[in-house]
């Protein structure tokens, strides 16, 4: 048989357990003496806490403990800043991070004020209703532009304003470029975003074991190792005393990377304090407040172009809503700032932003992590430029995309990974032409669309491009161990939330060791299995942990060959690894199973040569110089019902390039799933806060995740431009699908509505039938117009 497994569409090894309902998720962890938690949360966006009366709750049968901020004593402290500001000249950053329980003041609806521990979740919720929180409401900072104003209510009283950060990055001389331009197009662009809403909410179970003197924590985190190290520090334990397990996780998409959510600080502490295991499982309603989100940016941007539609420069200033705290630093707005440049040659760029504290839940990365905001602005500017010059969306992009000869391409900005933004490789013209051909852009415009318009149908086409900085550092590691039964064990520090790591990492390792994929057993997300690592974020699992697996597998391969070379008294070059055996090439009976070799590598007494390490095992690490840049093009044909403004996606084409593909089945799943989330973001999902900072749609009835009837068949195509930045040549793919969808919706729907409104510019996301009706018929006036801010 062939053992070529890398690059093959191999079925996932983890599926049978999931399909049988046997995979362990955090809420499945149970103990006979388990205690359950409910949080008392603020019902105001902004207010002074006058008092918290917990007496009735404490007196209720079945309640074990009720704690407020005061009860935490010295343990109360603001959380850590996860990502410090990057080394950008003259950066201003006013760091404020979340607290375990609100003290003195509440800063967003749903901020925890007290924690209740009881014999059951039902009882804990009963006791929650017993607690009386007396809050003196303060004017909240909700609207982004209003919150940025000097006279806005201050989220953090000790800061001069609500400005969390001011960042400016320049490349070339935009004003000079503008002076030489044939045209300048500009606009105000508003891009909202929503909740990541993984199907599994967050949760945590902690158990202290007196006999082993250790704490075990099961957490839905994307970053088990940093959580372990942080918890040890917080609780005064040695790292070796803390085991964090991130078992099967029901989707993450970013917010599960956030660390030291209040619950993560409190549950392990309570388990220690109370001497009983404690569980908190976030429910769907509270998830809209207790899990971080992504939200608004407002951009004022302009683009200078020459007569032929070539970009001379771009200028952008934007406000970024960071919510009540900024524990994740500036990752989201810096992604927006850097990703805006997209696939294009932009000689001059002047970009500045202000991150603004508001009395809304915390903002941290969610799939795309601000990249879609930047892509939206750039693509919309290009569309405005195209309209000005009377060329089509493909034409304007064709004139501006970087060509393969221009790589590596330095942009001269500092990216979220603290390095200079430099694209490693890509083939943007090929992707552009492929997408235009696959969607049939030219014939749709020349034949189909005019005919359909003549029949009164509103049909439109769109095509947009994007890049995604992926696979950033610092590093990940992996340990590969060949066991005596021939099984290959792989352990890595990243957590997994459905990306298929159990299979793709197995493929990487199996490829080097010449074993069946099914012989490779992968463990992720258990700090007892691997000690070092960062986590799953920034589309980096396959790139960083994948290359660590590869490096460790190569080293084990070398050890196997060295040992076999001694055993067979043959040169390493004359050996091959195939079908779970090491063989002397061309001599079939000179073979040994890897298991047998593993036994030999664990010497018996008297057989040890001093200085040798036992085992066919290796731990290796991979830390890239910088992130690798994936890219792609999306194109879509839509039809808008002229009476009801319902939108139907007639076709959706993706051309994606994420370098060398490990498993095309898994990759396609990532892309299609990303597009579905992008569609949600573009047309269905909106966190609707009112002017008081109250969320009007904290349920799945009103926060609309796309269903099977809302997501069309996605036609996906891939091109492979290897990354020169890692041995496998891979780039990340996790977030890509979601990034350009908003820009695509705006362009295609604008095109569809053109017969009704010839000069329509859509400058906002998300859209909805209601909003399209307004764009066509004006806002008009009717009593009781819709709620929701901005």
């Amino acid at each position: 048989m062939s053992t070529r497994v890398f690059g093959e569409p191999i079925r996932r090894l983890e599926d049978p357990r999931l399909l049988k309902g046997k995979a362990l998720f955090v809420d499945d962890v149970d103990f006979p003496d388990l205690l359950h938690v409910a949080f008392v949360r603020s019902s105001f966006a902004h207010g002074k806490i006058r008092s918290v009366d917990v007496d009735a709750a404490r007196a209720r049968d079945g309640v074990v403990a009720v704690m407020t901020a005061e009860d935490l004593g010295d343990y109360w402290s603001p959380g850590p800043l996860l990502v410090p500001p990057p080394p950008i000249k003259d950066i201003e950053f006013n760091n404020r991070t979340q607290v375990p329980l609100a003290k003195g003041k509440v800063r967003h609806v749903g901020e925890p004020v007290a924690i209740i521990v009881a014999e059951s979740r039902y009882l804990a919720e009963d006791a929650r209703d017993d607690v009386f929180v007396d809050i003196e409401p303060l004017d909240p900072a909700v609207d982004l532009e209003a919150s940025a104003a000097a006279d806005a209510p201050k989220v953090h009283d000790d800061l001069a304003s609500n400005v969390a950060a001011r960042v400016r990055q320049d490349k070339g001389d935009y004003e000079k470029a503008k002076a030489a331009a044939a045209h300048v197009v500009s606009g105000r662009f508003f891009y909202d975003h929503g909740a990541s809403a993984p199907m599994e909410n967050r949760g945590i179970v902690a158990r202290w074991d007196d006999r082993s003197d250790r704490l075990t924590v099961w957490d839905t985190t994307q970053a088990p190792i940093p959580l372990r190290s942080g918890l040890a520090g917080l609780l005064g334990l040695a790292e070796a005393q803390v085991r964090v397990v991130a078992p099967f996780i029901g989707g993450g998409f970013g917010p599960k990377i956030m660390m030291f959510y209040p619950d993560e600080v409190l549950i392990p502490w309570l388990a220690l304090k109370l001497g009983r295991p404690v569980k908190w499982i976030e429910d769907r309603e509270e998830s809209f407040f207790s899990t971080t989100q992504e939200r608004s940016q407002i951009h004022h941007a302009e683009m200078a172009i020459d007569e032929e539609g070539r970009i001379l420069g771009v200028k952008d200033h934007f406000l970024h809503d960071t919510g009540a705290y900024a524990p994740y630093g500036l990752t989201v707005p810096i992604n927006s700032q850097c990703t805006l440049l997209g696939c294009y040659r932009v000689p001059a760029y002047s970009s500045s932003f202000e991150a603004i504290y508001t009395n809304l839940p915390i903002v941290t990365p969610f799939r795309g992590a601000g990249r879609q905001h930047g892509v939206f602005v750039m693509e919309r500017l290009l569309d405005l430029a195209a309209a000005k010059l009377g060329i089509d969306p493909v034409g304007i992009r064709r004139r501006n995309v970087l060509t393969p000869e221009e790589f590596p391409h330095k942009h001269g900005l500092i990216y979220q990974d603290f390095t200079e933004l430099e694209y490693d490789s890509g083939n943007y013209p090929e992707a552009l032409e492929k997408a235009a051909t696959e969607i049939g852009f030219a014939t749709f415009r020349s034949n189909e669309q005019p005919q359909m318009r003549a029949d009164g149908r509103l049909v439109g086409i769109g095509l947009v491009t994007y890049v995604e900085g992926t696979g950033i550092g610092p590093y990940e590691g992996a340990r590969v161990t060949l066991e005596s039964d021939g099984t290959v064990n792989v352990a890595t520090g990243v957590g997994t939330q459905g990306q298929g790591h159990f299979t793709s990492f197995a493929q990487v390792v199996a490829e080097q060791l010449g074993v069946e994929v099914a012989k490779v057993r992968v463990t992720t997300g258990d700090t007892d299995q691997f000690h070092w690592g960062t986590g799953t974020f920034a589309s980096r699992g396959a790139v960083v942990a994948g290359n660590a697996c590869h490096a460790a597998a190569l080293e084990v391969r070398r050890k196997i060959l060295d040992l076999a070379s001694q055993q067979f008294e043959a040169a390493v070059e004359d050996l091959e690894l195939l079908d779970g055996e090491v063989r002397v090439k061309g001599v079939p009976d000179r073979a040994m199973t890897l298991g047998e070799l593993a036994v030999l590598a664990n010497p018996m007494r008297g057989a040890v040569i001093p200085g040798t390490e036992p085992g066919l095992e290796s731990s290796r690490y991979f830390g890239p110089d910088r992130g690798t840049t994936a890219s792609g093009v999306h194109a879509m044909i839509v039809e808008v019902d002229p009476a009801t403004f319902e939108v139907e996606i007639k076709r959706y084409v993706v051309v994606h390039d994420c370098g060398i593909v490990i498993n095309p089945l898994i990759l396609e799943g990532q892309i299609v799933g990303g597009v579905a989330q992008g569609i949600g973001n573009a047309f269905y999902e909106k966190l609707a806060f009112d002017e008081d900072g109250q969320l009007l749609n904290a349920s799945f009835m009103d926060y609309l995740l796309p269903t099977s009837t809302d997501v069309p068949k996605i036609e996906s195509h891939h091109i492979e431009t290897p990354s020169p930045l890692n041995p496998l040549g891979v780039k990340g793919a996790g977030e890509a699908g979601a990034i350009p969808v908003g820009a695509l919706f705006a362009q295609a729907i604008e095109d569809a509505l053109r017969p009704l409104v010839p000069d329509l510019t859509i400058a906002e996301i998300p859209l909805s039938p209601d909003r399209l009706f307004e764009l066509v018929h004006g806002t008009g006036s009717d009593e009781n117009s819709g709620g929701g801010s901005q």
Binding site: R121, Y122, E125, D126, D129, D283, R284, E285, A643, T644, E646, Y684, K686, A688, L696, N697, S699, M701, D702, L704, P706, T707, T709, D710, S768, P769, D770, F773, E774, H777, G780, S781, D782, E783, N784, S785, G786, G787, G788
Partner: protein, 298 residues
Amino acid sequence: MKPCSFEYVKAESLEHALAVLVEHGDEAKILAGGQSLVPAMNFRLAQPAVLVDLNGVGALSGIERVDGMVQVGAMTRQRSAERSSVLSAHVPLVTETMPFIAHAQIRNRGTFGGSIAHADPSAELPAISVALSATLQVTSSRGSRSIAASDFYVDLLTTALEADEILVRVDLPIAVPGSGFAFAEVSRRHGDYALVGVAASVQCDASGVCQQARVSLLSVGPGPVLSTSCAAALIGERPTTRTIADAAAATASDDIDPEGDIHASARFRRHLARVLVERTLTRAFARAAVSAGAAEQA
């Protein structure tokens, strides 16, 4: 999201359930399919002290044709109504509407009567009960009475039912020759509560003159709204594209008082009402013409 404590009473019979209601008054709530009540309890928006579960009372389920009526037991699962050949033959508006109600998993449990008694202004069954001139049979330990659907919906989530009464059966007049019907709604996603929905039930005589035009709208007021404009504009007339469009416009401007929310402004709802009334009436009259033609041939 766990419900508060309550006392659970599994009703052995209708009489048993009625007795429990008498005993507990306002404290008690009927548990039918629970597909609206249980979510409300999980959010702790509803905190009934006593739940009287009717799911064990077999006599309250079933679909039967009796004289000029199809009688639907209040505890009949919505899914059964959807699949009922009696309803599809005689009250086809019901069959056409059922798939719009949430999703199959909800209809498997949700009941025909439960939705009507809950009287959500965005629900489909209250609206079609009005369009169809259903008669609602209610019972209490004091006796039984019939309530016309158009008198049943009093206000937001409020019906003419007294605290001790139970809706036991919904009587739906069977479609006569010359009648036509249609249902349509616009929702953000399939299965969501409608932004606006319209149920139309019309009847024409052999010459094509409209005898009846009952158009009932959902999600545009505190309960289902019966269009008086449609009846006024169309009865006695031969429906044309023009008269239908005028009736739809009059309905949207005069008969409804929609509110705006995060999904649709009041103005968009008015617009959708006009569009959907026009669409449903057009389809209903076309069907009425076919039905009248078929009757004539027979």
